[in-house]
Structure formats: structure tokens, C-alpha cells
């Protein structure tokens, strides 16, 4: 069983890294890009001793309390059996 956690800056929080990436991409000649936001992605391997809903509950807690800072970031959890 594997959990995937995506952490992104909340909309409205300045992301200068995303802006710099967008600028570089545009220098490469790509057009039509209106915004780039950089986030973080985590893969958490679970040993299968808990069911999906318990796994989700634990990983949501990990995402909320460790992987993200709720003041500036939001997260999304996916569980793969």
C-alpha cells in the first residue's frame, strides 16, 4: 500500500520559485503559460497492516501536522492499495 501526498502553496501565497520557473520556460520559447506554482510530492510506503480508511486517516494527520504548514499550504492525499 502506498500513500501519495501533494503539498501546494495556498492560492494567494507568493511563489517566487514558480515565477522564476515560468520565466525560464518562457525563455525556452513556450507560450500560453499563465502561471506556474511549485509544490512538493511525497510517497509514503505503508506495510499493509491497516485498511484504506485507517491509512488515509493516519496519512492525513501526517500531511496536516508535518508535511504541510496549514498557514501557507494545502495538501491532498491519495491512497493506492
Amino acid at each position: 500500500m502506498k500513500a501519495k501526498v501533494y503539498v501546494n502553496l495556498k492560492s494567494g501565497v507568493l511563489d517566487p520559485q514558480g515565477k522564476a520557473i515560468q520565466h525560464s520556460v518562457e525563455l525556452l520559447g513556450f507560450s500560453g503559460i499563465s502561471d506556474v506554482r511549485q509544490g512538493k510530492y511525497f510517497e509514503i510506503a505503508l506495510d499493509g497492516s491497516v485498511d484504506d480508511s485507517q491509512a488515509r486517516e493516519s496519512v492525513e494527520k501526517i500531511a496536516r501536522e508535518v508535511l504541510s504548514n496549514p498557514i501557507i499550504e494545502e495538501y491532498r492525499v491519495e491512497i493506492e492499495s
Binding site: 502553496l9 501565497v13 507568493l14 511563489d15 517566487p16 520559485q17 522564476a20 508535518v66 508535511l67 504548514n69 498557514i71 501557507i72
Partner: protein, 233 residues
């Protein structure tokens, strides 16, 4: 009175803080390893600058889980004094001892330079020997010093007189140009509601000797020492 300087793996301004307390404040000071949890013999602790845990995940995010931080929370709750400098400020925010967060500088650069900050309140144990409005020249050295918070938090900080330092120009004007990192409302340092916990991005411990370009940081340590002299038997 006795000071402690907390040392995390990756702290690198711990010796500067120790030096200032022992040489300029002239008081006993210990290093406290982050696995230690007994703070009972201290009256004030400093969470120094550096790159605790290599700034992995987010600056200050992992230091918050070090064993000593539970003790620091209790220490602060008991009214004793906590000073977080730079990475120490980031740790205090991550730990929820101070509101808001510190994100990547507006212009992405790691900024290492002397800046001017205006003393916004002298109603704190860290600034009570200063004059309100006085300008201190203190260095900053950070990549994540852009203070952010929501509107409600900003209102609270303002209404409760908890914004302690703001970035300003040499004359003390708080302007967009004098804001080095994009911090909301030019905020360089704030205190908690109990006023016994201060976090600031500038490094006063690097500004205690004229030889180093400024000795303005001494006033902050002098204030804290004066406060302690009054309350510690």
C-alpha cells in the same frame, strides 16, 4: 540569571549568541543540546540562527519535533523568556509559539546585508531599554524571511502592539524600498501575546561589536538582561 542557547543539528549562530551573553551581557550561559529536555535552571533561552536539519521540508519544520521543543513550550507558558533569531524565529512559527510563517524571499535571493529596523514597541522585555521609533542597524542573512500571516492575525498583532521591529530606511521611514524580503507590513520581528517570546529575522548577536559594523544589537540583550535583573532573585 542564567541563559541557555539551544543547539540543533545545523544551528550555526549558537556560538555567536553564547559569546554575546558571556562577554557583553556578562552572565552565565550554557549550550543546550536539542535532545535535552530540562530547562529548569534557565531564565531565558535563545533559539539561534542557522539551518536546523538542513532546512529540510521547510525552514524550522523539523526542529519543531526535537525533544527540547516541548520543554521550550512549557518554558514559554510559564512566562520565562524565549528569543528566536532567524532560524529560531522560523522554528517558533512552525512550533506555533508565534503566529504566521516565513516563506521564500520575494526576490528568491539569499540576502546577507545590514538593514535598518525600527523599534515599534518598547513594551517588551527585549526592547524596554530602547526608545520607541529608534532605528537599529542589524544584519540579516536568510533566504526565507518573508513574513506572511492572514488579515486577522495582522490586525491582532497591530491591535495588541506585538509588532516589535519593522524594516525601514536609515531615517526610520517604513517604505517598500526598505523591505528586503517582501515581509508583510515590513515585519522583521513579533512577540507573542504574553510578550515573553520574541522572534526576529535580523541577527542582533552579530551586531554587538563596532568592529563588526554595528553594535546596535546590544540594546536588545541589554533590555533582556535588565528585565531579568528585575525579576530573577
Amino acid at each position: 540569571m542564567k541563559f541557555g542557547v539551544i543547539v540543533f543539528p545545523g544551528s550555526n549562530c549558537d556560538h555567536d549568541a553564547y559569546h554575546v551573553i558571556s562577554k557583553h551581557v556578562g552572565q552565565p550561559v550554557d549550550f543546550i543540546w536539542h535532545r535535552d529536555t530540562d530547562l529548569s535552571s534557565y531564565d531565558a533561552v535563545i533559539i539561534p540562527g542557522g539551518f536546523s536539519y538542513g532546512d529540510y521540508l521547510r525552514a524550522g519544520a523539523l526542529a519543531r519535533f526535537s525533544p527540547v521543543m516541548n520543554s521550550v513550550k512549557k518554558f514559554a507558558d510559564s512566562g520565562r523568556f524565549v528569543l528566536g533569531i532567524c532560524n529560531g524565529f522560523q522554528i517558533l512559527c512552525e512550533a506555533g509559539l508565534l503566529p504566521g510563517a516565513l516563506i521564500r524571499n520575494r526576490d528568491l535571493h539569499f540576502i546577507c546585508e545590514h538593514v535598518n529596523v525600527r523599534t515599534e514597541t518598547i513594551d517588551s522585555p527585549f526592547t524596554n531599554e530602547l526608545t520607541r521609533g529608534s532605528v537599529l542597524r542589524i544584519p540579516i542573512a536568510h533566504a526565507e524571511g518573508n513574513y506572511v500571516c492572514d488579515d486577522a492575525t495582522l490586525d491582532e498583532l497591530q491591535n495588541e502592539d506585538r509588532i516589535v521591529f519593522r524594516y525601514c530606511d536609515r531615517a526610520g521611514n517604513v517604505t517598500a524600498e526598505s523591505n528586503p524580503n517582501g515581509a508583510r507590513d515590513n515585519i522583521a520581528g513579533i512577540c507573542n501575546r504574553g510578550r515573553n517570546v520574541l522572534g526576529l529575522m535580523p541577527h542582533p548577536e552579530r551586531a554587538c561589536e563596532d568592529l563588526l559594523g554595528s553594535s546596535d544589537g546590544r540594546d536588545i540583550f541589554r533590555s533582556l538582561a535588565a528585565t531579568l535583573a528585575a525579576v530573577v532573585v
